[in-house]
């Protein structure tokens, strides 16, 4: 029983990481129909941002560097996204498969750039002292870094929800997503809305990257470990659906942790995939259907 509870906690923890890496995609993929394979590299960029800040601020300011890197990574990754949107993706709206291929080329280049700038060797990012170690609750270990990521994921999700649901900017984003022509006709500058959406989605990837520095070391291939999982979360959750992404991320996390407990880590991945295929048999549109008939 305790083991089960423990695995549920692990599942929530995996889920919060999945949510964090997938959140940006719910904007770029879900709302704009852009399959950005370079999303993983924006995550990587966020992680390297933390590393660079630590190098700049020195060993005595680790906490400051880490906290500062959250907004800075948002801007860095966001600007990279903006650049990508303005140069390439703009030309490819309505050709989702081509965005996938083009951004994969971008991902290749970004990885090699990271390798040439920071070295093929992984780099070490130090953790603030308050994130080391953990606490225990009802006999279950709760590492601080996991708690932090969980809290961060929740905070970012709420922030994204507020932006999309409550702010004027968010309403415009939804309007463009649902009917581009109509939105354009009613005076919304769709091009600028696209840019902002892409900035936001890419920036969220940067934040995810900062969080990931607390789990492992940072290397050029960091993003590739997460990209597929992130897309699966969005597909299962339903396009452009924040609540869908939340439910999907945690469900996949829990399925993963439970099957890993009863089998092995390698098999768990396969089991999760089988679950997704079966799930899509019943709900091809994801947990929540989109209001738009677009993309598919």
């Amino acid at each position: 029983m305790e083991a089960l509870l423990e695995q549920l906690v692990v599942g929530l923890s995996i889920g919060s990481i999945l949510l964090l890496v997938a959140l940006g995609l719910t904007f770029t993929f879900g709302q704009m129909g852009v399959i950005n394979m370079a999303h993983g590299e924006f995550i990587m960029a966020g992680a390297y941002t933390t590393y660079v800040l630590q190098e700049l601020l020195g060993a005595e300011n680790i906490t400051a560097a880490f906290l500062l890197s959250l907004p800075i990574a948002l801007v860095v990754a966001g600007l990279m996204g903006l650049l990508l949107e303005a140069t390439l993706i703009k030309r490819l709206y309505g050709r989702p498969l081509d965005t996938l291929l083009v951004t994969w080329g971008v991902a290749l280049i970004l990885q090699q750039v990271a390798r040439d700038v920071f070295g093929a060797q992984n780099v070490a990012v130090a953790s603030p002292a308050w994130l080391d170690g953990g606490t225990e609750l009802f006999g279950i270990d709760l590492p601080y870094n996991r708690l932090f990521i969980f809290a961060l994921a929740m905070a970012v999700t709420v922030a994204a929800w507020v932006v999309v649901g409550k702010l004027k900017q968010g309403r415009r984003m939804r309007a463009v997503m649902q009917n581009r022509q109509l939105a354009a006709a009613s005076g919304i500058g769709t091009a600028s809305v696209d840019r902002r959406t892409f900035f936001l989605g890419s920036g969220l990837a940067g934040i995810a990257g900062v969080a990931l520095t607390q789990l492992g070391s940072v290397g050029p291939a960091l993003g590739t470990y997460y990209i597929i999982d992130a897309f699966l979360v969005v597909i299962v959750g339903g396009l452009g659906q924040l609540r869908g992404a939340v439910i999907a991320a945690f469900s996949l996390g829990i399925i993963n942790s439970l099957s890993e407990y009863w089998t092995q880590a390698s098999l768990a991945k396969v089991i999760v995939f089988v679950c997704i295929i079966v799930f899509l048999q019943f709900r091809p549109q994801g947990i929540f259907a989109t209001e738009s008939r677009g993309l598919a």
Binding site: V10, Q121, A124, G133, G134, N145, A221, A265
Partner: protein, 419 residues
């Protein structure tokens, strides 16, 4: 299908034909001179002013992290030899190829080095998979490969020299250390999901069974994984005395962090790692692995004049912040061993080099090493070390002199039936 499209096919086929012609032309151009002399690779390789050798490591892809440093040490060794007049009075000319972390590419490039560049020997490889991919290429061409990394044993190709440790020079001493010095009775096995950890763990289980140690669990994580919560939970539930860790480089950070988060720091639960060397510590961050136990045959801190010279030269060439470690040293030793054998044989002919290598000894940075003529591994001193706060490793235990290599564990009763 409109007529215009039919025409399109012709044009495309024409382009295809052009591509092919270009391919043929380029192929002929670069091969024509080799064709004539391709009867014996070795005969022609020392006929010019230089002797070509191949350096084949992953310079791109995931394995570049580890292999680039080994390439560097091999180049250093070649430079040193050339400064002292080369071999057989000729300069050594390295031909560098990229294995791109892809095993068939290793096989392809190995073939290219042998048949196009006609190298006298090749130094390269890191993963077992890349070695297994290259093995048939070297055997069928009767060419030499020097492989610089510790591995899982159970292999001894007549055309490969193994300058890294086999299991009885690294893993078994580590197990003995755990049992005798640390009093470990229950051991948990954690590894990355590939060949070395799985085969090594099979040997560990056989050893444990024979020596009264209990293996409480065996878990594998996909390569590159940073998710160890479940494995850590299993480790914790098993009440083990120690963990034997065969995780690959970048997974270690996550694993150690999560052990720490679960209240199992290194002083409470010792972890012995066999895949973390100084170069990996540099990427992981010394603070995260400080105090962890590792098992290798060489550390940057290993005493001796040869090593002082080596470390100095390596840092002088590649920068102060670079470190040397076991595979880096083994790559260096490989080049030196080959050069010594060529001098002794008076030829670069692989068969003569093989014959001359039998019993050849060398004062290596790790101490005196001797080539075992039978299995072409080298004798190695086993050293257990602890990572310090500078990211270097302090030796805490050392075997009594070099251990004879025994890749098939023939001299161990408990290993019967393993191979």
């Amino acid at each position: 299908m409109s007529t215009r499209e039919k025409g399109g096919r012709f044009w495309l086929l024409a382009i295809l034909a052009l591509c092919l012609s270009a391919f043929v032309a380029v192929g002929c151009g670069s091969d024509s001179k080799d064709e004539a002399s391709s009867t014996s690779a070795s005969a022609s390789s020392d006929s010019g002013d230089t002797i070509k050798v191949g350096i084949l490591h992953s310079l791109s892809g995931t394995m570049a992290i580890s292999e680039v440093s080994v390439r560097d040490s091999e180049l250093l060794a070649i430079e040193e030899i050339n400064k002292n007049g080369g071999v057989l009075g000729k300069q050594i000319e390295p031909v560098i190829e990229d294995g791109a972390s892809d095993w068939p590419t290793f096989a392809e490039k190995a073939q290219k080095l042998i048949s196009q560049d006609q190298v006298a020997a090749t130094f390269g490889g890191w993963t077992s998979a890349s070695r297994k991919a290259m093995l048939p290429v070297f055997e069928k061409n009767k060419a030499l490969l020097y492989y610089p990394v510790q591995y899982e044993g159970l292999e001894s190709s007549p055309y490969i020299f193994y300058t890294g440790a086999t299991t009885n020079q690294q893993i078994i001493p580590a197990l003995e250390y755990l049992q005798k010095e640390k009093g470990v009775k229950k051991l948990f096995l954690v590894g990355s999901d590939y060949v070395f950890p799985r085969t090594a763990n099979k040997e560990i289980k056989a050893w444990a069974k024979a020596n009264g140690m209990e293996v409480t669990g065996e878990e594998y994580a996909p390569l590159g994984s940073t998710e160890f919560s479940t494995i850590v939970n299993k480790v914790k539930a098993s009440n083990s005395d120690a963990v034997f860790n065969t995780l690959n480089g970048d997974s270690n950070v996550a694993f150690f962090k999560q052990l720490d988060g679960a209240g199992l720091p290194s002083d409470k639960l010792p972890v012995v790692s066999v895949s973390i060397a100084e170069d990996e510590v540099r990427g992981i961050g010394a603070d995260k692995v400080k105090g962890q136990i590792v098992a290798w045959n060489y550390y940057q801190t290993t005493p001796g004049a040869e090593n002082e010279k080596f470390v100095k030269a390596y840092k002088a060439k590649y920068g102060k912040n670079r470190v040397t470690d076991d595979p880096i040293e083994a790559g260096y030793v490989g080049v030196k061993l080959w050069a010594a054998a060529v001098e002794k044989a008076g030829s670069t002919d692989p068969e003569k080099v093989k014959a001359a290598s039998k019993g050849l000894t060398l004062d290596a940075p790790e101490g005196k090493v001797t080539v075992n003529g039978e299995n072409q591994h080298i004798t190695k001193t086993s050293r257990i070390g602890v990572i310090n706060e500078n990211g270097l490793i302090d030796t805490v235990w050392e075997s009594d002199g070099p251990i004879e290599p025994d890749p098939y564990l023939k001299t161990y009763d408990w290993a019967k039936g393993l191979s």
